[in-house]
C-alpha cells in the first residue's frame, strides 16, 4: 500500500461563488519548462477560453437543431462540464488516445475534430466523423485517436484498459485518457478494468466526471461510498480529486497523471467534481424531479467559462471586447458548421451494408498508431478518417 498517494492539489467545489481557478503551472508536458513566459501563459488561457466557448456555443446550437428535428435520437449535452474535457485533453499529445461516453460532442471538439464534422454526424450526414452511422453517442475519429463515444454505461472503461495494454505491449510511450460518469463506478466493468490496470501497471488515466447524478439518481442514492476517488485504493492506484469547474486545476492534475503514465506506466483515477447544467438528455427536464431549481441556480454560479474569464480579467489577460470578439468568432464557426451539416448529403444507401465486417484483405495488423491510414482495415474496419464512405 506504500505507493498510494492522493495527488489532490486543488479544492473540490465548495458551492461558493468566489472559488476561482488556481494559478497553476500550465504545461504538463514533461519537456516543457515549469514556468513558461507570461505571454505563453496568456495565449494558453485564451485558447482554453476559446475552446470552452466553442463547445458551449456548439451545444447551444445542438439543442436548437434537436428541437427542429435536425438531430435525432438521444442527445446528451456537456454544458457546464466543459472544463474537465478541455483541461484534460489539452495536456495530451496527438498520438495519445481518448475514449469517452455518449456525452461526447464537446470532448470530440476539444480533441480537434472539427465542428463541421461533428455537426454533420449529428445531422446524420456522410461527411460526419462517423460517416453518419454513429450519431450523437458514437463520435469517432481515427485521425484524432478518438476512440469513440460509447453508449453502454461502463463499457468504455475496460476498452481504455485494453488500449493501455496495447501501448505497453508495443513499448510505446502514449497514454490513454478515459472519461466516464460517477454512476459508472457502480458497474462491474469499472472494477474489473481498474483491477487489471493496477495489476498490470498500465498507462491509463481514468477521469470520473462526477456531476452528482446518473440520470435522475444522486450519487449518494446509488453508491455505498461517496468518496469515489477512494475506490482507487482497492486497486493500488494513484488517485486525485479535482475541481472540475477549474480548467487550470484539471490541466494540472491530469498533467501529473499523464506524466506518471508516460514515464512510469502507472494508472491514475481522477475524480473531477463538476455539474451538468442541462437535463441528462434532451428529454429530461433541467430541474424539478430529482434536483431542485435552487441547487441548479447555485451551481450555475460556478460556470467554468465564467470562472476562467474572471480569472483572466483579474490578471489583465483579456479585455471585455476581446472576449466579445472570441465569442463572435466561435459563434460564426458554429453557424458555419450548421450550414455545412445542413447542406451536406445524406449517406448513400449502399453504406448501409458497408463496414459490417472487414472485406477483402485486411492487411497486417496495426503497428502502433490508429492514426496511420494504410493499416486502417486491420484494426476495426474503419475507412481512413478523411474519406467518407460512399
Amino acid at each position: 500500500m506504500t505507493n498510494i498517494r492522493p495527488t489532490s492539489t486543488s479544492t473540490p467545489p465548495s458551492g461558493t461563488v468566489a472559488a476561482r481557478p488556481s494559478p497553476a503551472p500550465v504545461n504538463a508536458a514533461p519537456s516543457m519548462p515549469a514556468a513558461p513566459p507570461a505571454s505563453d501563459t496568456r495565449e494558453l488561457h485564451r485558447e482554453l477560453l476559446r475552446m470552452m466557448l466553442l463547445q458551449r456555443r456548439f451545444e447551444e446550437r445542438c439543442a436548437e437543431a434537436y428541437a427542429l428535428g435536425k438531430i435525432g435520437g438521444f442527445s446528451h449535452l456537456y454544458i457546464g462540464q466543459e472544463a474537465t474535457g478541455t483541461g484534460a485533453i489539452s495536456v495530451l499529445r496527438p498520438d495519445d488516445y481518448v475514449i469517452t461516453t455518449y456525452r461526447d460532442h464537446a470532448q470530440a471538439i476539444a480533441r480537434g475534430i472539427t465542428p463541421r464534422s461533428v455537426m454533420a454526424e449529428l445531422f446524420g450526414k456522410a461527411a460526419g466523423c462517423s460517416h453518419g452511422k454513429g450519431g450523437s453517442m458514437h463520435l469517432f475519429s481515427r485521425e484524432h485517436n478518438f476512440l469513440g463515444g460509447h453508449g453502454i454505461v461502463g463499457a468504455n472503461i475496460p476498452i481504455a484498459t485494453g488500449v493501455a495494454f496495447g501501448i505497453k505491449y508495443r513499448g510505446g510511450d502514449q497514454v490513454c485518457l478515459c472519461f466516464f460518469g460517477e454512476a459508472a463506478v457502480n458497474n462491474g466493468a469499472f472494477h474489473e478494468a481498474l483491477n487489471m490496470a493496477g495489476l498490470w501497471k498500465l498507462p491509463v488515466i481514468y477521469v470520473i466526471e462526477n456531476n452528482r447524478y446518473g440520470m435522475g439518481t444522486a450519487l449518494e442514492r446509488a453508491s455505498a461510498v461517496n468518496d469515489i476517488a477512494e475506490r482507487a485504493r482497492a486497486y493500488d492506484m494513484h488517485r486525485a480529486v479535482v475541481d472540475g469547474q477549474d480548467v487550470l486545476a484539471v490541466r494540472r492534475v491530469v498533467g501529473e497523471a499523464v506524466q506518471r503514465a508516460r514515464t512510469e506506466r502507472l494508472p491514475t483515477l481522477i475524480e473531477s467534481r463538476t455539474y451538468r447544467f442541462m437535463g441528462h438528455s434532451m428529454s429530461d427536464a433541467v430541474a424539478g424531479t430529482y434536483r431542485s431549481r435552487a441547487e441548479l441556480d447555485e451551481q450555475l454560479k460556478r460556470d467554468p467559462i465564467a470562472l476562467l474569464r474572471a480569472y483572466m480579467h483579474e490578471r489583465n489577460e483579456i479585455s471585455e471586447s476581446e472576449v466579445a470578439e472570441l465569442d463572435a468568432a466561435v459563434r460564426a464557426e458554429c453557424e458555419d458548421a450548421w450550414q455545412f451539416a445542413d447542406q451536406s448529403p445524406e449517406p448513400e444507401l449502399g453504406a448501409l451494408m458497408q463496414n459490417v465486417t472487414v472485406e477483402g484483405d485486411g492487411g497486417p495488423a496495426s503497428g502502433d498508431g490508429a492514426s496511420s491510414a494504410d493499416n486502417s482495415n486491420g484494426a476495426g474496419g474503419a475507412p481512413p478518417a478523411a474519406e467518407p464512405s460512399s
Binding site: 435520437g73 452511422k133 453502454i152 454512476a183 439518481t217
Partner: protein
C-alpha cells in the same frame, strides 16, 4: 372497456399484481423516484413505498442476480431493465442462473420472476440502443418470452408473467408506450403461449410479434385496398410458441410471410418456417418468405435507418411475392 396507453396498461398490471401479492416487488434503474425512465412505474413508489419499489445503481448483472436470489427463496421479483440493450450485461444471471436453476436442482428451486423492459429500435438511437432480442432469448430452455404488441396484451401478459412460476421475459416496445387500445375492465389475463389472430383474411398469413404487429396491420390495410385479405397472426409469446395457431392460419391461407423486428440469422422467421415446413408441407402454395432488419447494426442516419428497418412496404412486397403478384 377503457381505451388506455400501452404504458398505462403495464402500469395497471404492476399495480394490480403488487396489490394482490406482497411478494411482488419492482426493482431497477430509475423505477422509483424518477417514476421510470419511460414512466411505466409512475406512482408505484407513492403507493407501495421504498420496500417494494427499489431504485438500483447502474449495475444490471448485480440486480438481476439479486432478483434470482430473492425468487429462489420465496419472493416474486419484477426486474426492470431500462432497455434490453443493457440487459446484455445481466445475461449471465438470466441464462445461467434463472433459466437453469429448476433443472440443475432437480426441480427443487423454481425462479418465479419477471425481467422486463423496452426492446427493439426506436428512432435514430444508433447501433447500441436499437436491438430486438427476442430471437436470442427464445433460444434458452427454461425461459418464457413474451412480446406484447397492444395495450390489452401488455396488461394481460405481464399479469400472467408475474403469476407464472418460471422466469418470464417481457419485451416491451419503446415506440409502443404511447399507443392506445382497448383494455378489458376488471381482471384481465392473457395466457402465456397462446397466439392471437389480429386480422382475418384468406389470401396469405403474416405471422409476427411485438411491435411488428402494428406494421403487419398497416400492411394488411394497404393490401386490402388491392383486394388482398390477409391473416395477421400475433404470436404474442415467442417461447413457448403456439404452433397450433401457426398451423391453423397456414392451412387456411396456404401462404405465409414471417415479419420480425430483428436480424434474420437464427431468427424467429427461421423457427416459424421450420414449423410450417414440418407441419404444413402439403398445404403450401409458395415458399415462406421473411421480412426483417437488414443484416447490419442499426445505422444512425435517418435514410439508412429507414432502409434498415422492416416496414409495411417490405412486408407487402413479400406478401405479393408469395402470391406471385410481383410480376
Amino acid at each position: 372497456m377503457a381505451t388506455i396507453t400501452y404504458r398505462d396498461a403495464l402500469n395497471q398490471a404492476l399495480r394490480e399484481e403488487m396489490q394482490r401479492d406482497d411478494r411482488v416487488f419492482l426493482m431497477g434503474e430509475e423505477v422509483a423516484v424518477y417514476q421510470g425512465a419511460y414512466k411505466v412505474s409512475k406512482g408505484l413508489l407513492q403507493e407501495f413505498g421504498e420496500r417494494r419499489v427499489v431504485d438500483t445503481p447502474i449495475t444490471e448483472l448485480g440486480f438481476a442476480g439479486v432478483g434470482v436470489g430473492a425468487a429462489m427463496t420465496g419472493l416474486r421479483p419484477v426486474i426492470e431493465f431500462m432497455t434490453w440493450n443493457f440487459a446484455l450485461l445481466a445475461l449471465d444471471q438470466v441464462v445461467n442462473s434463472a433459466a437453469k436453476m429448476l433443472y440443475m436442482s432437480g426441480g427443487q428451486f423454481a425462479v418465479p420472476m419477471v425481467f422486463r423492459g423496452p426492446n427493439g429500435a426506436a428512432l435514430q438511437l444508433g447501433a447500441q440502443h436499437s436491438q430486438a432480442w427476442e430471437s436470442w432469448l427464445m433460444h434458452i430452455p427454461g425461459l418464457k418470452v413474451v412480446t406484447p404488441g397492444t395495450p390489452a396484451d401488455a396488461k394481460g401478459l405481464l399479469k400472467s408473467a408475474i403469476r407464472d412460476d418460471n422466469p418470464v421475459l417481457v419485451l416491451e416496445g419503446e415506440m409502443l408506450y404511447n399507443t392506445k387500445g382497448e383494455v378489458p375492465d376488471g381482471e384481465h389475463l392473457v395466457p402465456l403461449g397462446v397466439a392471437e389472430l389480429k386480422r382475418s383474411g384468406e389470401h396469405c398469413s403474416i405471422i409476427t410479434n411485438g411491435k411488428m404487429v402494428l406494421v403487419a396491420l398497416q400492411a394488411a390495410d394497404q393490401l386490402a385496398k388491392d383486394g388482398i385479405r390477409v391473416d395477421v397472426l400475433d404470436l404474442r409469446t415467442v417461447r413457448p410458441m403456439d404452433e397450433a395457431a401457426i398451423m391453423a392460419t397456414v392451412r387456411k391461407t396456404n401462404r405465409a410471410v414471417v415479419l420480425e423486428e430483428g436480424w434474420s440469422a437464427s431468427g424467429i422467421g427461421g423457427h416459424v418456417a421450420d414449423v410450417i415446413q414440418r407441419e404444413c408441407f402439403d398445404d403450401l402454395d409458395a415458399p415462406v418468405l421473411r421480412a426483417h432488419q437488414a443484416d447490419a447494426p442499426m445505422p444512425y442516419a435517418k435514410n439508412l435507418e429507414r432502409a434498415a428497418k422492416p416496414d409495411a412496404a417490405k412486408t407487402i412486397a413479400a406478401v405479393k411475392r408469395v402470391m406471385y403478384l410481383d410480376s
